[in-house]
Each structure stands twice: as structure tokens, then as C-alpha cells.
């Protein structure tokens, strides 16, 4: 069974496009990355999945159930960490977590203490006294306390220091090992690269590409820089080259195609130095955005 499945999910805010024709299919046990710049439609997609907003057209199911009809049932098994965490200011952390836990079946008080320990969160503080990062920690504990089968993270690491980020990633990986599926939205590629198995790239409301993280990184894209006295970059204008630029004596470009063609081309010219390397996900990402 697919954990999340959307078909041509579309949301317009009046005339403004939120997302259009987003089709995703996420398997059980996956850590699925969802990357795109701010305003690309990541949060819109997530809010649709949580039925906080309703689609203009298209379908979405979670655990095989229609998100918009059975939202309240589905949410029993979803843990959600929003990008910005807002809670009832006047409550204490402990009260808020207890309140949140009261909506889920079973006793979760042990798990709350466990998670708060890991995230070094003081349960006795008042919400409105907390810093941004500490509020985020409350969000993490609140999102995970009921051992959800699906964890939805929307830019989860903003506000957390690197040490806490690591602890948080470990926590997510641990939940994943126990069987939880993770939907991880972010605009920071490094963290997606670290955690995810597959990734969807979203841009201006459209899914540009869904790929295995390895394929995406390999995808035959090579980053090439050639140092040469021949300053005519046009000699490298062959099929498969993109983003060509010339800085001083260096010609840089991306190459996607038969590497032999490129090599034979290079040997025809007098070059001082050649670097052919794997582009980072970041660079591939930039490429998709051109």
C-alpha cells in the first residue's frame, strides 16, 4: 500500500497558483524528500495532505484513505512538524504536550519525557518564554509523541543548532527504522541528501522531477572545468553542455551525455588542466531551476 498518493493535486488561491498537477506516490518505510525554494508550493502540498486546506482539483490519499473525507482518522497516525511552530502561549510545555497527547489513544507520558530528554527540552517552561529553537523542540516532541506511522516535516531544522539538528536526524532515522514513513520538505539540500531515499523537486507549483537520490546525484551530470589558453568557449558547444561560463582562463560547464565525446573534444585542444567531478545536489538543483 502507498502511504501517500496524490493524483494531479491542484490548488489555486483565487487566481494565484499554489500547486498544479502534483502527483506523488510514497511507499511505506521511505524517507521522501521534497525540495524546492520558498514559495514553490511545499507547504501548500503539506497543508492539503493534512486537509487544512482543500484542493481545487485532484485527489490525495494517505494510508489509502481520502485525505479530505477521513482527515480526522488519518491524522491519528500522522506526526506533523510545521515550519513555524505556534502554540497556545499561556500554557506550559508540559500542559501543552499532555493536551496534545490526550487526543491520541494510549498513554504517551513516558514517551514525552524520553523525547524531551533527547531534545534537552525543559518541560516546565511557559510557551511564550521559549526561544524560536526551543519552540521547534516542543514541535518535535509534540509531533513524535504518539509514535506516528507517517511523519511530515516542513523545514524542520530551521532554528535548531547543528548539534540539535543531528539529534533530530538521529531521532527521525530511528523512527524510520521502526517503520515510520517520512515526508521531508526542505530547501536545504544537504539535509535531504543525508536522510532521504527519494526526492521530488518542486518548482513554481509543479513537480519537476522525482528521482532516487542516487540517480539524481549520478544522473550523468558532470561538472567540468577546463583551464586553457584557448579562450574561445564556443569550441565546447556540443550537445549535452549547459551552464557554460568563462572565468579568467577557466571554462566551467555541466555535461550530461557520452563522456567519450567530451574527452575526445578536450584532447583536440591544448589544455592546461581538466577537472571532471560529481556535481553536488545543490548544483544539480540549481540546474533544475535555471
Amino acid at each position: 500500500m502507498k502511504i501517500i498518493e496524490t493524483t494531479n493535486l491542484t490548488k489555486f488561491y483565487g487566481k494565484n497558483k499554489g500547486i498544479e498537477d502534483v502527483s506523488l506516490s510514497i511507499n511505506e518505510g521511505e524517507i521522501f524528500g521534497f525540495i524546492g525554494p520558498n514559495g514553490a508550493g511545499k507547504s501548500t502540498t503539506i497543508r492539503l495532505l493534512l486537509s487544512l486546506i482543500y484542493p481545487t482539483s485532484g485527489k490525495a490519499t494517505i494510508f489509502g484513505k481520502n485525505c479530505f473525507k477521513y482527515g480526522h482518522e488519518i491524522r491519528n497516525d500522522i506526526g506533523y512538524l510545521p515550519s513555524e511552530v505556534f502554540y497556545y502561549d499561556k500554557m506550559r510545555v508540559k500542559e501543552l504536550l499532555k493536551y496534545s497527547a490526550s487526543f491520541y489513544k494510549g498513554d504517551h507520558s513516558k514517551r514525552i519525557i524520553e523525547l524531551a530528554d533527547i531534545m534537552e527540552l525543559d518541560l516546565n517552561r511557559k510557551i511564550d518564554e521559549l526561544s524560536y529553537g526551543n519552540k521547534k523542540k516542543v514541535g518535535i516532541v509534540q509531533g513524535l509523541l504518539h509514535q506516528p506511522k507517517l511523519i511530515i516535516l516542513d523545514e524542520p531544522t530551521s532554528g535548531l543548532d547543528p548539534l540539535m539538528q543531528q539529534k533530530f536526524f538521529d531521532l527521525i532515522l530511528e523512527e524510520n527504522k521502526k517503520g515510520a514513513t517520512v515526508f521531508f520538505s526542505s530547501h536545504i539540500l544537504g539535509e535531504v541528501q543525508k536522510l532521504c531515499n527519494r526526492v521530488a523537486i518542486i518548482r513554481e507549483g509543479h513537480i519537476v522531477k522525482i528521482e532516487d537520490i542516487k540517480t539524481l546525484r549520478n544522473d550523468n551530470y558532470k561538472k567540468v572545468s577546463i583551464r586553457t589558453s584557448n579562450h574561445n568557449q564556443k569550441v565546447f558547444a556540443i550537445e549535452g553542455i549547459s551552464n557554460i561560463e568563462q572565468v579568467d582562463g577557466e571554462i566551467n560547464f555541466f555535461f550530461n551525455g557520452d563522456i567519450n565525446v567530451l574527452l575526445s573534444l578536450i584532447t583536440k585542444h591544448k589544455v592546461n588542466d581538466v577537472i571532471i567531478e560529481e556535481p553536488t545536489l545543490e548544483e544539480i538543483f540549481m540546474h533544475y531551476y535555471k
Binding site: 497543508r47 493534512l50 487544512l52 486546506i53 482543500y54 480526522h72 482518522e73 488519518i74 491524522r75 491519528n76 500522522i78 506533523y80 510545521p82 513555524e84 511552530v85 505556534f86 502554540y87 497556545y88 502561549d89 499561556k90 493536551y99 496534545s100 490526550s102 487526543f103 491520541y104 509534540q142
Partner: protein
């Protein structure tokens, strides 16, 4: 259940303030009443006032020098205050989630939106009842040193019954605005405007026979304190109208809230 308790806990402070305000008001008015009570000269002064003014402020129907008359007039204002409380509370208890951006927490919990609204509605109803009971207690305490007229206690209970119906009516309007409108600021303004317009209409309708039809439009004329005093009963016709409005408002609120995009 947890929603009701949380909302009640969150509104303890505002309830305490309302109770405090009523305590102060009652004692202020009672010290004023001590000057009026059975005072013949006062009656003479009142008789000398222009007819229209007396009519507008209902002083024609009430004898200010008796407890019945005094509270009959006071309650017009209490009902106004409690109606404002009810409509604002009804509106804000729904819209505050969007204002404070807590929707992304509350409505991601495994609970239907309609249950959230009903929980909140019950919390405000309890809130209103607590304030009413408190006000009733304070009034009983304040009249200890006077000998109430024969029908006063019955009259007072009828006043509270009409107050409660008005509270529920405006509460359901407030809930409807909070549920139906995405823009929480506008729904608050709309609530206050409706109250003020209805109140002004209720005063205007007393000024001239030609404007009497307004009494069907403004809820503040549904249970006219003067009529209650004379009839010693609430008009069933208006109880039914109020009940219908309440049911319609809550239904519209529940349906629209279930279907609309939350404002995040």
C-alpha cells in the same frame, strides 16, 4: 472534552474580569438606588422629563424608586454588555486559532473540525452561565437590605432567562462569523457593528409608533423588559424566533467551517 476544559482554563482571566466589573457596577448602582428607594421627590423629577426621552430609555414603564423598576432599566444595559461579550467571545474563540496561527496545531490533531467548534461552543456557554450565576448572586447579595416587591424575584429570574437567550443568540452569531469568515479582523468588526446597530434600532423603535416594526428586526426588542414586567412571562413567539436564529447560525457556521480553507 479536553477542548472544553482547555478553553475554560484559558478564559478564567476574562471571566474574572467580567465578574469583577459586574460586582463594581452593582455596588455603584445600588448606592445610587439607596437615594432613589421610595423617594417621592425623585418620582416628581422623573415625571418632569420629556416624554420621548423617557420612552427611549424605558423610564416610562419603570418606576425607578422600586427594585423592580430599577433593575428593569439596569438590565437593558446588562443585556447589552453580555450580548457584546457573547458575540465577541463566540467570534474570537474560533478565529483566535487563525489569528494566533495555532490552527496548524489544533486542526492537525485527530479530531473533526465540527467537534472542535462544538467543544468551543460548549466552553463559551459554560462561560456565559458562570457569569450569569455570579451576577445573580451579586444582585441577591446587594438587595439584602431592601424589601423586594412581591413579584421581584420572579421578575429577576425572567430577566435572567431573557438575558441567557440573548447571549445564546449573539454567541451563535459570533460563532457563525468566526467560522465562516477567513479574515478574523473583519468578523470581529462585523460582530460589534451588528450589536450596535441592533441596539440603536431598539432605541429608535421606542421613539415613534411608525418605527415599531423595527422590533421584529432587533433582538434587543425581542424580550422588552417592560413587557416582561407587565406580562410576567417571556413571549413564546420570540423564544421561537431566537431558537430558529440560533439553529440557523450554528448550522451555517459548522458547515462553512468544515468546508473552508483555514487561514494560515
Amino acid at each position: 472534552m479536553n477542548i472544553i476544559l482547555r478553553e475554560l482554563r484559558a478564559s478564567i482571566k476574562s471571566m474574572a474580569i467580567w465578574c469583577g466589573v459586574f460586582t463594581v457596577l452593582i455596588f455603584m448602582y445600588m448606592s445610587e438606588f439607596s437615594a432613589y428607594a421610595n423617594n417621592e421627590e425623585m418620582l416628581a423629577v422623573l415625571d418632569g422629563m420629556p416624554e420621548a426621552m423617557l420612552e427611549a430609555f424605558q423610564m416610562n414603564s419603570f418606576n425607578l424608586t422600586t427594585l423592580t423598576g430599577f433593575y428593569g432599566i439596569l438590565f437593558t444595559y446588562f443585556i447589552l454588555m453580555l450580548s457584546i461579550h457573547a458575540i465577541l467571545k463566540g467570534n474570537s474563540i474560533i478565529s483566535k486559532e487563525e489569528r494566533d496561527r495555532t490552527v496548524e496545531f489544533t486542526l492537525v490533531l485527530p479530531i473533526k473540525r465540527s467537534k472542535v467548534v462544538i467543544g468551543k461552543l460548549i466552553a463559551v456557554i459554560i462561560n456565559c452561565i458562570i457569569i450569569d450565576v455570579f451576577l445573580y448572586g451579586i444582585i441577591l447579595f446587594s438587595i439584602q437590605s431592601y424589601l423586594p416587591e412581591e413579584n421581584f424575584m420572579e421578575f429577576l429570574l425572567l430577566l435572567f432567562a431573557s438575558t441567557f437567550i440573548m447571549q445564546m443568540l449573539f454567541l451563535s452569531l459570533g460563532i457563525m462569523f468566526g467560522c465562516a469568515m477567513k479574515q478574523y479582523k473583519r468578523s470581529g468588526y462585523l460582530g460589534i457593528s451588528i450589536i450596535l446597530i441592533s441596539y440603536v434600532l431598539s432605541i429608535v423603535s421606542g421613539l415613534s409608533k411608525k418605527l415599531e416594526f423595527l422590533k421584529y428586526i432587533t433582538p434587543f426588542k425581542f424580550f422588552d423588559t417592560a413587557v416582561i414586567k407587565n406580562e410576567m412571562a417571556l413571549d413564546w413567539k420570540y423564544i421561537l424566533i431566537s431558537f430558529t436564529i440560533i439553529v440557523i447560525c450554528l448550522t451555517i457556521g459548522l458547515i462553512t467551517y468544515k468546508k473552508r480553507d483555514l487561514y494560515i
